[in-house]
Amino acid sequence: MALGAPPADGRAESPSPVALKRVIPCLDIEAGRVVKGTNFVGLRDAGDPVELAERYDTEGADELVFLDITASHERRETIVELARRTADNVFIPFTIGGGIRSVADAQAVLDAGADKVSVNTPALARPELIGELAEVFGSQCVVIAIDAKARAAAAAASAPCDAPPGHFGETPEYDVYVDGGRTLVEDREAIAWADEAVERGAGEVLLTSMDRDGTTDGYELELTRAVADAVSVPVIASGGAGRLSHLVDAVVDGGADAVLAASIFHYGTFSVADAKRAMSEAGIAVRDTGKSRAAG
């Protein structure tokens, strides 16, 4: 650990102007608890989201996402309490998703210390919500979460009959699902929805491939690339990470600005530090957290 600033000649080198790619662990929360226990040793309470979040911060996570899947009507209280406890103990930006249906819902978790809110089902039910949130809190606070699934071959083949010759099949299409992947949204295509949501004021897209989610086959790179090319805001790739090379692929081939993963971190397969190292070795600019561990 070097104390004091480096010598003057060490400052001539300008840092890369390329935005640092982010690694974002995701925690699924039900009634204030992490949905599945973890294999981490040394945690006092394996189900405590705040303790897990602190660990991710220590390992070098750039941000955190909490997705609340609580179905009960006490939901808002529990996510506000979670936001408050997280803000009291974890000093990196974090996003709360699940149960944000209104400006008042968002206000409550942002006041409690969250940095962003993520909206999915309520935004599809009433797309104006995105603009309302952006108007009050700014686009930087509003993440549109999209659960996308490749359209069945039959449906895709029948739909674009009027596509010009040679164009057929070149643009992949994806359905949008809500309610945690249980309900198909009629007449919505994921790439077009991402574009619309950004037009309405979303500052970031959290893009989950339902085809890959829960597998360890890697992110859906074609989907990620299509959305990254379609929108002007950062895209967070989600769903399917199983190996460190998948994180690299999402950035290099998928064009993602950030990679989100749950189980590989959650179950201790890899640490966030492992992820950062692999990305750095692949030539991706990431926040180096080996430098400033002096605080505590």
Partner: protein, 236 residues
Amino acid sequence: MARIVVLDYGMGNLRSVEKALERVGAEATVTGEAERAAEADGLILPGVGAFPRAVERVRELGLDRLIADRLEAGTPVLGICLGYQLIFESSAELGGAQGLSLLEGEVIALHAPGLKVPHIGWEPVRWERDSELTDGIEGTTPFYFVHSFTPRPAEPTDVLGTAEHGERFACAIARPPLYGVQFHPEKSSAAGLRLLRNFAGICVSKSRIKGGGGRLRAPDSASASQGTLDRGGAPA
């Protein structure tokens, strides 16, 4: 233990700043009452939102006078994000407004053609000189930014750190006992906590020095003490 007041003028969430200060061992109080704040070893002027409304609120609460008086008495003050911008003379945001004029310079929109504004995310910060505020933090450590505007300090010796987003901009200043940072130390993990710990340390040492009775400025680093708080007077 440093007693630090986080000035509350109704703009933005102050809880993270308060808790980060507690984490580094300071005694943090959030208040908008100038009288209570006057007793503190150090002041933090935070803030998220638009400049004109913010400066209006600060004046309504009499915090502009408080800050100026405390600086005169040698009490360290740290502006964070919008609070950092407020210490300058003026801002171009939303038609423009006068600032607190504690430092010379204006606040302008980030010039970043082809890049996204607001500028959000982790950005490496380059320290332009040594300072007690940045002690122990390496020269290209990333901090977390969320902003669309940035101050242009008129006095180059005020600039403590710079970052790049389209252009290189002054993201940290020091004219002890006045400090300011455009990034959010309370959201910048270990490096941010270190910076706040350093600030708390500055507050404690200044408080001890003052014990005898009001010296204006204690030296920070050699180069940093060249400035003056005389508004309108040419800095040395």
